[in-house]
């Protein structure tokens, strides 16, 4: 069975304090790993797609990396507006998406 585990569950950061979120996965035939941002009361907002080990994607203060067993979302010098829940999802050989439980990030000014 496909499994996606995110850690930590919650992360409290001071503004400017860089950190990383982890997504470890077990999947039959990875067809893509995806990162989303979800604000309270809203649907997930797409951030990145990663397809193969060694791949990296960047967008503003966020950088996503992928290995054969896990992905990291690095937040560099975060600002309060980066506060959100970050979700990781994998797409397996059957093309279905499996989501992790998410990491809730709070950035204090």
């Amino acid at each position: 069975e496909d499994q996606v585990t995110q850690s930590p569950e919650a992360l409290r950061l001071q503004e400017g304090e860089s950190s990383s979120l982890n997504c470890s996965y077990t999947v039959s035939g990875l067809r893509g790993l995806f990162w989303y941002r979800q604000d309270p009361g809203k649907g997930p907002e797409f951030l990145f797609t990663l397809y193969s080990a060694g791949e990296e994607k960047e967008k503003e203060r966020l950088k996503a990396t992928l290995t054969k067993k896990e992905s990291f979302l690095h937040i560099t010098a975060p600002k309060p507006e980066d506060s959100a829940t970050y979700l990781c999802a994998v797409r397996a050989y059957d093309y279905k998406l499996s989501f992790g439980a998410g990491t809730t990030v709070t950035v204090r000014a």
């Binding site: 797409f46 979700l87 989501f99």
Partner: protein, 115 residues
């Protein structure tokens, strides 16, 4: 990216009643998906809405409880039937961006509270 509109954005319903959620996409898509997000939890796929055929339900979800319609390539509805407080969740409509191995896009969700 696809623009997905869901209605209603939120509702408070009495137990035993039913609610139909609408999902409209701004472009034609082959498959549409319905997810449930229970409080404090992540997303769980309810079913895939197929145009021209019955929806495909995931384990633990049945058509009598969550009937789905897909009359055309841009629209779908999900009905939550005979509601109980355990159905209180966010319900999300989703489409794949360009193909079955690409990213998915989501509507803003419908927050349902059953009292």
């Amino acid at each position: 990216s696809a623009v997905i509109s869901q209605k209603p954005s939120r509702d408070i319903c009495q137990r035993g009643t039913s609610l139909t959620i609408q999902c409209q996409v701004d472009s034609q898509v082959t498959m549409m998906f319905w997810y449930r997000q229970q409080p404090g939890q992540s997303l769980t796929l309810i079913a895939t809405a197929n145009q021209g055929s019955e929806a495909t339900y995931e384990s633990g979800f049945v058509i009598d409880k969550f009937p789905i319609s897909r009359p055309n390539l841009t629209f779908s509805t999900l009905t939550v039937s005979n509601m109980s407080p355990e159905d209180s969740s966010i319900y999300l409509c989703s489409v794949d961006s360009r193909g079955s191995n690409t990213e998915a896009f989501f509507g803003q969700g419908t927050r349902l509270t059953v009292v």
